[in-house]
Symmetry: C3
């Protein structure tokens, strides 16, 4: 039963956000302080201003912000009537998740003497966590309310932090750009939720699930921003010097190969050789996902190209054959095709990293040679792997390969189960959620004119609103 | 009385620009030279190429250019029929103001031995000046001709330079990101002009003062570009090292808090909980304005969050209650709501800086500890405050707090009066200005098709032009 | 005779791309290896990670990528029905050309001991080559199929590499930003092709050769991205330190002068003083093209401004008078006006560089003073000029001036002839190419809805497709 939606959104959104932002403010005042890179305490005498971590991180940080806010936002704005939902809700949950991650990761990783020490590096790590929530949300784009999106973030961020810790601590995963930690995790978390939000009617297509040339073009521009700055994303936590240079180069090569492969595959699979915009918007990025895990390894330039090709092929085949199958058989409706962009290339990339670990010219037990290889995201903080490996030297490349595979499996399980549970919670009747007629529609959430008809007068607009797009079941 | 507009725009725009660009060319040839960072003279032997100021400034400079040209341009393109006016006139007056500032600031600050010494730092400072003109123009967006906008820039830039010098020289203001020097100044200058351009008919709404979902979306993308690069804007002149790092971090936190607060407040204040796009496009940036003045101070991360919340709340309340009131009572029609984004958060930010100065853990008279704090935009050039403070040590935090407050007051007065006088000048009948029917319309200025009707044939277009959108009174 | 187009595009595009990407993969595996900046071999002990070339190149590299993919892509999307053709084919040929250049330039310049050594610098140089193909394609935008575009890239890239080598090796050209090597070359190559694709009916205008306010606005945004990052493009290969700083500053000044001049000239030349969007989208960038060749020379700030003015004037006069003339008399139809943006300003810029070389305060034979001046793109690799000049000292500024002029002439001849021959090849009947009715139309290539009518139902779309937009003659 649908009841009037106005009171509920107007209540729930301000209340949740006020509680959250107010609570966070209290936590920040009580527990958060500048770290030694941002406080006013003088650094040691030998430290020059130029050596501040800012100059190492900030150039990459800005690129990643363009990716998160402009790139992903525009990419998600492909629906004709839900462009603000794409851009603005992405903006909302990004900020919500970043702040939430600062606290969760702060207590988990940066808690010293009763204080969380804060610098730009924390924000960077918080953005990695936020990305997972933003990707997961793609699976149910346009089918949930902002309230539900915020709950999603609240639950996914801590699970991400735990999983990230687990696969680094116990499986010593090497994953500089987050293929497993970010892409695979977010994908299966999102699919887990999507399973709960299965809606049989969607199988015949929703009248509002449509694009315009203009919305498709802006979405493609979003993809281009992601494409351009993906090398920064994959290399930001790589070890400074040659390893970071290699991470940039390998990522660029993989993306470039993905792009050409996408044009070829998309043309091949369409009836008239016409290129699909969905493929362009997604599969051109598949190489960036796949190579994230091995971007700083010695995979050779040819290896990077090959991985980009495979990732793009898997992505397009996923869109063409697997997504319809999953919707039909597994009742998983994947709105943005995150399984094709993040899941399949993530698995391929992990397999690639296993091959690289096994056949890389570097002896993996020789840390003096391969510290390049080990200096990755997780190790930077915990560095338990480094210590473990350094002390006894019994960890060899086969062990590492097993670790990579095990981390993939564990992440798959945790995220899928976590997503499924989260989905159940999001279905709680007291949360605002849109009625089926208002799926893929900005109208319930934003004060905009109705563009579904060529009619702009306000009377018409008010009439439409009587349809009560949001409901509490 | 309206007469044919064609001759006048065609005469005035080329003549003004040719005179200006020609005159500037002469001034540049006679007076401007490369500085020691750009000339071919060898630097001292101990100076490495890497130490060139370029590498310190350029990464920030590029970000600020994206903000000025893309961010602000798109943000101003929200009107359905005036999108080119938003983007292209912003582009025009940015360049006009930058070049003009290079000369004005050059003679004012960089004049040595009969030559102005020019490097990228000058351009950066010129862009700060240009921003004030670009913000002020927002108050009368769509209601004046490009001729009037250029006169506005001609007059505002020198006044900005004088005011900036005054508040640093005599009030020793600490204002690393320009809350007072840029935001407050430009706001009240713009409102002063707007008072003169009061038009009673606008109170019932202009038929062309409307947006489309697409124009609103592009405007929001502009906001996102501003949001992403705002930390660069606030930190570029901060002292290298920890202070600059802190400026980036504080600004990011304030912006993030503003964003969540905006979603909450906007939903709360609308009848149906729907979020206002105007609020999204503006209030999410309010934290960046407010924190500009104290970004490099030790305000604590919690302080940054809190300031962002307050700034956003003030901005939204301004849009909701104060702007209509000002239009009705004070006859100030603020087209883009610059008072809400730059004025109110600017005042709040200045109050915040006073609190920070009074209660900051650093003893403000102890320069060896707080040089972080004092190394700000204005002091970099004049450094009179530093000298004054260093020599006698009688300047304490209460004096500094008074200085901040006095600078705000002085800036308020100068800018409001300056804007009012400028407005009077812009009304001079011999300047081209648009007739009321052609407010918020690109048609008088750009060779575009008329999109106000769903009719594209050229005959119709020519008929419309007979309406004579520009007039000389 | 037109036959069904579906089989052909669906065959040719995947086959060409698969052959190309597959072949390249083999070449990469057999011949390409990391260079000493990206391999895992330890650098010499005295080399710090921070000294890796990545940190020198990457900040510029990212800017140039934004220019190529977003800037140029959006700029080319001005046609109402061909926006995807603009953005996506630009994306396609950029990647195709970059990969192809990596191999061609690799064997030409970086082949050591049977291996091509690969680092980010190679990709940067490959992008310079790719730009030429992307610019040339502008001359025939919308009038050829992607198959033809790929063949164009295949042929133009090697010729660019040869011409670039020639003008540096034998004429010792100083051309830090590629005025001659990139802009002049690509322009006349494109015009050579365009001559072959002359179509008399286009003289009366094609029904689909039209823009919308929205497509014009996005194109202008593309221009702005190009404008903002042009200083990076012109300075990336300048010598680190003062020379690079000067290249950034000079380019910015030239662009700024171009912008103001464009507004003045465009208004002056239109019947009603209205500004042309075509002029805004192009002539504001003319200064960047013209100054590229002398950006790091001691041309004085006034010289940079003046050059920007002249370049913009030439560009606008070209659009107004020369382009129609060339179409009528020379049967060269220049779709995007590349002659006006790249040809005329390129010639003016080269003349400017000759004047600078002749009258620059630096004695050009004194290498200890002017190594700034000589450290340019080509010399970085070949450095034959440096050696030649250093050894005997007989090379004086008149010789250099002659070299600049001769390089312009040689480039003009090679590119025009090369383009003409390439055009003949592109006309080969077996290549897919669009029929006249489907010029300037995305429909044959992309799975999009037909927006040429206000009718979105799929039946209508399929009917249109019966018109067979692509043909094999």
């Amino acid at each position: 039963m649908s009841i009037a939606y106005n009171p509920s959104l107007q209540c729930q959104l301000p209340i949740i956000l006020a509680l959250f932002q107010g609570g966070l403010l209290v936590v920040f005042i009580l527990y958060v302080d500048y770290d030694d890179q941002t406080s006013s305490l003088p650094l040691s005498n030998s430290t020059l201003p130029k050596d501040n971590q800012l100059y190492e991180i900030f150039p990459f940080f800005k690129d990643i912000n363009v990716m998160l806010f402009i790139g992903l936002g525009l990419m998600l704005s492909f629906l004709k009537l839900y462009s603000f939902g794409g851009v603005a809700f992405n903006f909302l949950i990004a900020n919500f998740s970043i702040q939430w991650s600062l606290v969760v990761q702060g207590f988990f990783n940066h808690y010293e003497d009763g204080r969380i020490k804060l610098g730009l590096e924390n924000v960077l790590n918080a953005e990695f966590a936020a990305v997972t929530a933003m990707i997961s949300a793609g699976a149910i784009l346009g089918r949930v309310s902002p309230i539900q999106l915020l709950i999603l973030c609240l639950l996914e961020i801590p699970l991400y932090v735990v999983n990230d810790w687990l696969i680094h601590k116990y499986f010593h995963i090497i994953d500089v750009g987050g293929t497993v930690a970010i892409h695979v995790f977010s994908c299966y978390f999102g699919l887990g939720i999507s399973r709960i939000f299965y809606h049989p009617e969607l199988r015949v297509g929703h009248t509002k699930e449509t694009t315009t040339p203009n919305s498709d073009l802006l979405s493609l521009v979003g993809t281009l921003f992601l494409w351009i700055f993906w090398p920064s994303f994959n290399s930001v936590v790589a070890k400074a010097g040659n390893a970071q240079h290699r991470a940039v180069l390998n990522t660029f090569l993989a993306l470039s190969a993905s792009t050409l492969t996408t044009f070829a595959m998309s043309s091949l699979l369409s009836k008239k050789g016409q290129i699909s915009l969905v493929h362009l918007q997604n599969a051109t990025l598949a190489g960036g996902v796949a190579i994230a895990i091995s971007a700083d390894m010695i995979i050779t330039p040819g290896g990077a190209l090959g991985l980009g090709c495979l990732a793009s092929i898997s992505c397009i085949l996923g869109f063409q054959y697997l997504s319809p199958l999953m919707a039909r058989r597994l009742k998983v409706q994947d709105q943005c095709g995150i399984h094709n962009l993040h899941g399949l290339p993530g698995i391929i990339g992990t397999l690639g990293s296993i091959i690289a670990v096994l056949f890389s010219p570097i002896d993996i037990s020789d840390l003096s040679l391969n510290d390049d290889l080990y200096y990755t995201n997780g190790l930077k903080e915990g560095s338990s792997a480094l210590e473990a490996l350094g002390s006894n030297g019994t960890w060899n490349s086969r062990d590492q390969a097993m670790g990579q595979a095990a981390a993939l499996g564990v992440t798959f399980g945790i995220s899928l189960l976590g997503g499924y549970m989260t989905g159940l919670l999001l279905k709680i009747p007291c949360l605002v959620h849109p009625s089926y007629e208002f799926y893929f529609d900005d109208q319930p959430y934003f004060q905009i004119k109705d563009i579904s008809e060529n009619n702009w007068n306000s009377k018409d607009k008010h009439d439409r609103n009587l349809l009560m797009p949001l409901k509490e079941v």
